[in-house]
Amino acid sequence: MSYFDELVAAAWGSTFLILVAYAARTIRRGRVLSRSLPEEERTWR
């Protein structure tokens, strides 16, 4: 693997990691907070 290949892998890898980490954090927090709502109000239209 050449140096340029490593740079490409780093760019794609960091994009994937940052987006997945942020999405997971947002969804997890939404699930935790929605548990405090009454069940009939948990549906999003």
């Binding site: 050449s2 760019a11 960091s14 940052i18 987006l19 942020y22 999405a23 927090r29 939404g30 948990r42």
Partner: protein, 281 residues
């Protein structure tokens, strides 16, 4: 008991469709960008970063632009609604994530093509400034004060900060910069074939990801707002109930001579007066 569980969290049918679309286009972009498209004549394999970096920058601009538009809608008396403020907050946070992505991938690309991780080029500096400004905006949203004045302050800040977005975009045209200019927004684009397909797919993928994240983050913002408001109201009700119990027990104890002879009992912490008075006797 229903076979389908009650939905929890911030997802619904729309987010699932958007998420599926984002996954499919992202996978297609990865296939074109990493496998199908040929290396560039001058940049070699390094050109494959073009399938993540410009799309991330565009998503960042769109998110900050949406933040500014929502803030204007909040400030405009006819359209003022708490929802615009929540949408502004959500889009600013998602925009910050894409701004970080832009800087990280741009820095990696710069290391390969210019030989340095960072240089004080106009485009790079303005993007870093944009990140700093919107981080400040997010900090401002968490500052003190009542909800309405905080929202108004944040909206004014967002409108002022978003002026940097078009300056950042046109920096490569207005000044001599190391950063290359437009690739697609030209009469005759400088890329063709699989490179053009891959780049177009990357824009679609990241804009779908942006929409998906925005919907989730906006709903989370609504939940947080509701939790904050209702949590405060519940705490206030609880405190008033405690105060009423305190007042009731104090009134019941007032005529007794022992209670009058023990003035230090009135300074006891809330919720514990009656047992302490009984013990003090």
């Amino acid at each position: 008991m229903s076979l389908i569980p009650k939905p929890t969290g911030t997802a619904n049918r729309t987010t699932r469709v958007l998420g599926a679309g984002a996954l499919v286009t992202a996978a297609f972009t990865a296939w074109v960008g990493l496998i199908e498209s040929p290396p560039d004549v001058t940049q070699g394999q390094l050109v494959r970063i073009i399938y993540v970096h410009p799309a991330a920058a565009t998503a960042c601009y769109v998110a900050f632009g949406l933040c500014a538009l929502s803030s204007v809608a909040y400030l405009w008396p006819r359209t003022r609604s708490r929802r615009w403020d929540l949408l502004a907050g959500a889009s600013a946070e998602v925009g910050v994530v894409f701004c970080v992505l832009t800087l990280v991938t741009g820095s990696i690309w710069g290391r390969g093509s210019w030989g340095v991780w960072w240089t004080w080029d106009a485009r790079l500096t303005l993007t870093a400034l944009l990140l700093a400004l919107f981080l400040g905006y997010l900090a401002l949203r968490r500052s003190g004060g009542d909800g309405e004045s905080r929202a108004r302050r944040s909206a004014v800040a967002a409108v002022c900060f978003s002026v940097v977005v078009p300056i950042d975009h046109y920096a490569t045209s207005w000044w001599r910069t190391l950063h290359q200019g437009d690739t697609l927004l030209k009469v005759d684009p400088s890329i063709h074939g699989w490179q053009l397909v891959g780049m177009a797919a990357s824009f679609v993928a990241q804009l779908l990801i942006l929409s998906w994240l925005l919907l989730h983050r906006y709903r989370l913002e609504q939940l947080e707002d509701r939790y904050e408001t209702e949590g405060f109201a519940a705490a206030l009700t609880e405190r008033r109930a405690e105060a009423a119990v305190d007042a009731g027990s104090a009134a019941a104890l007032a005529p007794t001579p022992t209670a009058q002879a023990a003035p230090e009992a009135s300074s006891a912490p809330a919720g514990q007066p009656a047992p302490e008075r009984e013990n003090s006797q």
